[in-house]
Symmetry: C2
Subunit: 345 residues, 2 copies
């Protein structure tokens, strides 16, 4: 017989799955009699908890892990990441759960940290960020059987995963952005993308290509970068030095967009008269610069809180695998976008 | 006899304090023979390790704690805090130590978390930020005998503390700032301060008062705020609405300075012609706005790394109490400061 699920136990015991979860995790909320019956049924079905931590019979770590494989100096700079972890901390702290943070060199080191944390019971679950194309962390975490939430990952087509997912529709967001610029009259649209190894970068690049085909934009192009303001500035300089320069640039991050604004000023290219600038991330940066930057807005802090909630659900009941689609980021139009020169608008 | 220190043991055993620390903490770097002799001497002197964690005979947690008693939403906004924790993480991660983070409501809840973490051996040490006037956390941590580093705290005059400290000279920084503005010809200088409960706020306010007296500035005034851009903007509006408005404003944070710039633009007050703006914190914000903001600069990421190093030293040898004075922030002059109108400069 396959490993019984909480649903199997609930059915056999004639109670809700919530009651089974409370009973088997030693949480209050069910009567002693019900708890005893549920445990009996679970034992009879040879039920064993999912997580390595609880398989070892230990108490909770009361912490969830977040490992970041990025250069540490960039972590404090990006408003998106700051807001996300702040929301995560808020959601966890309300439940007296700490966030266990580590910065590593690369994905291999990240997987090593997961193994160590799980075997030493340092964490009850983990949050996975910066999802890559064919990400080796997914298989490793499924093998470790530790509750996990993948941020930005749609479920795989190949079948259900054992990891929960929280994602927003980057494709739809990019399509709405290109539609807006095309409606203003832009034809030569450039996209300063992030790292091509990231799934969301690939999705945005594909969405731009599809849009360009549909709308007949001949000059649409995606340029990959490492997300740094330095590469954002350099790529902007290259694009604006072309004889046929773009009339609009979409930046994958607010930091790159602001760096691009600086390059436009340096080269005497007027925003928005000669160049429209759009940022895929919104933050205090895009609001306070002059001209302020049109951006896709979402509540990143609230996103962090949502991730915390999904992860705590998975920790409380390892049989729960949730896929939460968050609101698609919406366009906030500010001073940096306008019809292109000579468009007749 | 008083509790023997590592220095006492080193003297009796005829070895360095470093060797004693390695031997008693079970770290490599001393020969087996030396380790055995040191342990023998330590036992004879009835030596017991400092920290509650090790007194319980356990292994390391390989994590250090940071509890933040601020509204979670503000944590992701402030560049200073983002850079500091990024540097902290970098310094810790290099030593395979995680940062254990929690956000709480107030100082009482913060002390509760320390007690729990120490008793449950979740952390090997803690970092204390946002040092207050007569801070109750200091006594609580000394009592818990957990290795700790206090950021921003000069040693107390009353005698040596058992907690390590990392601090910069805020007073000297404020004096240099006021000297510069006075040299430009400013007499009516306002200071938008942070929370008066913080020690560094008090030191900066006192430095402004002392400067004003010395330089004969009649209109110098400090206005306390909660560090938010909202209060920074509101207080700027009040100051600029006065018949005798200040010709220069010093902001305790970059976020408030940028908010103040926005209010000046909204009220038609030209920066720097009619108003000079200075920020006590430097970051990407002050560099990218127009006009760019004159600010006190320091490498906050490096400060985080220094705090990590001092804390790891204290974890490795609980008898080590360090007081590290970091470089005084230096003035970076940008576009937001000039002599006041009609000053004859």
């Amino acid at each position: 017989m396959a490993r019984p699920t909480i649903a199997d136990i609930a059915q056999r015991a004639g109670v809700s799955t919530g009651a089974v979860s409370l009973a088997l995790n030693g949480r209050p909320g069910v009567s002693d009699a019900t708890r005893a019956r549920i445990r009996e049924v679970a034992d009879a079905m040879n039920w064993r908890p999912h997580s390595a931590a609880r398989a070892l019979g230990g108490a909770r770590a009361d912490a969830v892990g977040l490992v970041v494989a990025r250069p540490a100096r960039t972590i404090g700079v990006e408003p998106f990441f700051g807001q996300l972890t702040a929301g995560l901390q808020a959601g966890l702290s309300r439940n007296s759960v700490a966030l266990h943070l580590m910065v590593v060199e690369d994905t291999a080191a990240e997987i090593e940290v997961y193994r160590r944390w799980v075997s030493e019971r340092r964490v009850d679950g983990v949050v996975v960020v910066d999802l890559q194309v064919r990400d080796p962390r997914i298989g490793a975490l499924e093998e470790l059987a530790v509750p996990a939430v993948v941020l930005g990952g749609r479920g795989r087509r190949g079948g259900p995963s054992r990891l929960s997912r929280v994602w927003a529709d980057d494709r739809e967001a990019m399509l709405s952005l290109v539609d807006y610029l095309a409606a203003l009259g832009h034809r030569r649209i450039a996209h300063l993308a992030g790292l091509p190894a990231f799934q969301h970068t690939q999705r945005r690049m594909r969405a731009l290509r599809d849009s360009a085909k549909r709308l007949g934009l001949i000059g649409a192009v995606s340029v990959p970068t490492d997300f740094s303001d330095a590469q954002g500035a350099a790529a902007t300089r290259t694009l604006l030095s072309r004889p046929e320069r773009p009339t609009a640039i979409i930046y994958d991050s607010d930091v790159m967009a602001v760096a691009g604004l600086g390059v436009a000023a340096e080269m005497g290219v007027q925003v928005p008269r000669e160049l429209s600038v759009v940022s895929f991330d919104d933050s205090v940066l895009t609001r306070i610069v002059h001209p302020s930057v049109t951006a896709l807005s979402r509540d990143t802090f609230a996103l962090g809180e949502q991730v915390a909630r999904v992860l705590l659900d998975a920790v409380n009941d390892p049989d729960v695998v949730r896929e939460l689609r968050t609101a698609t980021p919406r366009l906030t139009v500010r001073e940096s976008t306008a019809p292109p020169l000579g468009s007749g608008h």
